[in-house]
Amino acid sequence: MTLRAILLGTVIAATLQTGVLAKIIYDRASALQAGQEVLLETGFIDPRDLFRGHYTALNLLISRIPSKDVEIVGDFKWNDPIYVELDTAANFAKPVRLTETYPENPKGPVLLGATEFSSQSENEIFQINFNFDRFYADKDRAITLQNHERERKLGVILSVAPDGTAMIKGLTIDGKKIYEEPLF
């Protein structure tokens, strides 16, 4: 491999890596701007990530859905995609239907998650992982958010894309917006 080829490789590698990072920022900003807004009820728990430090895990109520409360369409296995159709009539959005594929003519916004545990029997709980279950913050702020847990009136505002993916747009306590995510 000649010196010139390696130098060219260096420039290509640097550009590729920069492009990847820039694309992540751009995609997130576009999705945040264009998505449909949904408010979910949540609590906070303060754990730590190996690479990204402290965060508050969002203890989302829709992460654990009693099977008797929703219509279930399909057979879900571990890590399968699961679409959660929401009813936004109340203050906090509530799940109404779980489907394997994106539902036809949904009445409300639809969230995409991954099946953690599922059962078709009555009184069972559907456990679902969502990709917006973490809010990164420094240690003090993470603990402060966690301490609001007892009040159980915490909300997370999401921006939901047409394919069901969502990202955090803001946080609320007792209906008041305490944090709004800047675009950049």
Binding site: I25, H54, D138
Partner: protein, 427 residues
């Protein structure tokens, strides 16, 4: 040749040859000065710079993890971008000056900054997804950079990242697993780069990571009462061991790395045979397991056939490793035979372990690779301890243990020096 770490061995050898009159004083002085020239303190400086760049990488990662809010988001992102480009710039500068090793190290630094960038951006913008996906993206970006710039440190980082990614996805305490059958594909890509860059350190990492993955899927599947992967990994291990012995000394398909691969494969075989021992003596599991033994038949047939074919070829071509290739085929046949026809029979696997450990010691001596001989001694000690713990429950058992131990030790005392002499004569 990495001669710097063998300086004292060479100097001692030259002094010895001179004292015994094998070489004259002039030759001894010439050789000693050549050894001195080949070795330099520069190599150690390289290591220090590598360690410094690793420290800087960790500094960047902990900067990200600290969630420092005193700066604006864009400033923090800007710092990471600047650090990444500074590292790439340093790499290009060193490369243009012909200092390839420094260039490679700074490529590593740039890749560390790339990873820090992924983590920082996903943290400050709350982009989560699957955490393992972020590590995978980092690994892909790093292996591409390693290939494009021919950087060995970056290749090693990408191997480590693929390893972390694979472990991220494994939940040994959960019900469901992704066995990551794509992991060997990534390791194969890394192996191709390691072969191209002629790096043994990366090759060691690749083989270690692949052995860990192979044993991981065996134990995950065992937990789910399946022996399919056990049989495949056992058969593959015997086949690869035969291939390595066949390539060793004559064909050198892996440029002399065959012995190191054989060492790791013997380790895998040791773990598998020990695991089988514990599985087969547990009668509770054995009853459930009998129908599952059919899983072993394809692997037993294919692996034994490969080992026999290579042994026959070696015999025909008067290969220097014929003895060990024949022994490998015999051990493969015996191991699969015991699994299929004598599961749960007392002292069969223990006898296999003892015989196997002596064969490994012998192999290490024959092919002049001490780590394999050392592994054989460790296996011998482990097998003896295993027998001790299993027979300690009854006086008769303990007595049999002492009898066997005594016979084995006496055999060892008289046989091992003879084997050593024979190995010396074989050279």
């Amino acid at each position: 040749m990495a001669i710097w770490n063998q300086k004292s061995i060479l100097k001692t050898a030259v002094d010895d040859w001179q004292s015994r009159g094998l070489i004259d004083t002039t030759t001894a002085v010439t050789l000693s000065s050549d050894i001195g020239q080949t070795t330099s303190s520069f190599a150690f400086r390289n290591i220090l710079i590598l360690l410094a760049v690793i420290c800087l990488g960790f500094a960047a990662m902990t900067f990200v993890a600290a969630n420092w809010d005193e700066m604006t988001r864009l400033t923090r992102v800007g710092i990471i971008f600047a650090a990444m480009w500074a590292s790439w710039g340093a790499s290009a500068v060193f490369l243009s000056r012909g200092q390839s090793w420094f260039a490679q190290i700074f490529t590593l630094g740039a890749c560390a900054m790339f990873g820090a960038g992924i983590m920082l951006i996903s943290q400050i913008y709350h982009i989560q997804g699957n955490p393992a996906d972020a590590v995978w993206l980092w690994a892909i970006g790093t292996i591409l950079a390693a290939g494009l710039t021919r950087s060995i440190p970056a290749l090693c980082l990408s191997i480590a990242l693929f390893f972390i990614w694979m472990n991220y996805e494994w939940n040994f305490f959960g019900r469901d697993f992704d066995l990551h059958f794509d992991f060997p594909i990534y390791m194969a890509a890394c192996a191709a780069l390691a072969y191209w860059m002629k790096t043994r350190f990366a090759a060691h990492l690749i083989v270690l990571a692949t052995c860990y993955w192979a044993l991981g899927i065996v134990f995950i599947q065992l937990d789910q009462k399946s022996l399919m992967h056990f049989s495949i990994v056992l058969g593959t291990a015997f086949s690869v061991l035969s291939l390595m012995l066949y390539s060793d000394r004559v064909y050198l398909w892996l440029r002399g790395f065959e012995r190191a691969v054989a060492f790791y494969i013997i380790g895998v075989l040791g773990v598998l045979v020990t695991a089988w021992h514990f599985i087969s003596i547990e009668s509770r599991f054995e009853r459930e397991m009998f129908p599952l033994l059919f899983d072993f038949i394809p692997a037993a047939v294919i692996a034994t056939a490969i080992c026999c074919i290579l042994a026959a070829l070696a015999f025909r071509r008067k290969h220097e490793n014929t003895y060990d290739l024949v022994a490998t085929a015999i051990f493969a046949a015996i191991t699969f035979g015991l699994i299929l026809f004598a599961p749960g029979t007392n002292f069969t696997t223990e006898a296999l372990m003892l015989a196997g450990s002596i064969w490994i010691i012998r192999m290490g001596w024959r092919i002049e690779y001490r780590p394999i001989a050392a592994l054989g001694f460790i296996a011998f000690g482990g097998a003896m301890l295993l027998i001790y713990f299993e027979t300690i429950g009854s006086l008769l058992g303990t007595s049999i243990f002492y009898l066997v131990a005594g016979v084995m030790l006496l055999t060892g005392v008289f046989l091992i020096p003879r084997l050593t002499k024979t190995a010396g004569a074989d050279k």
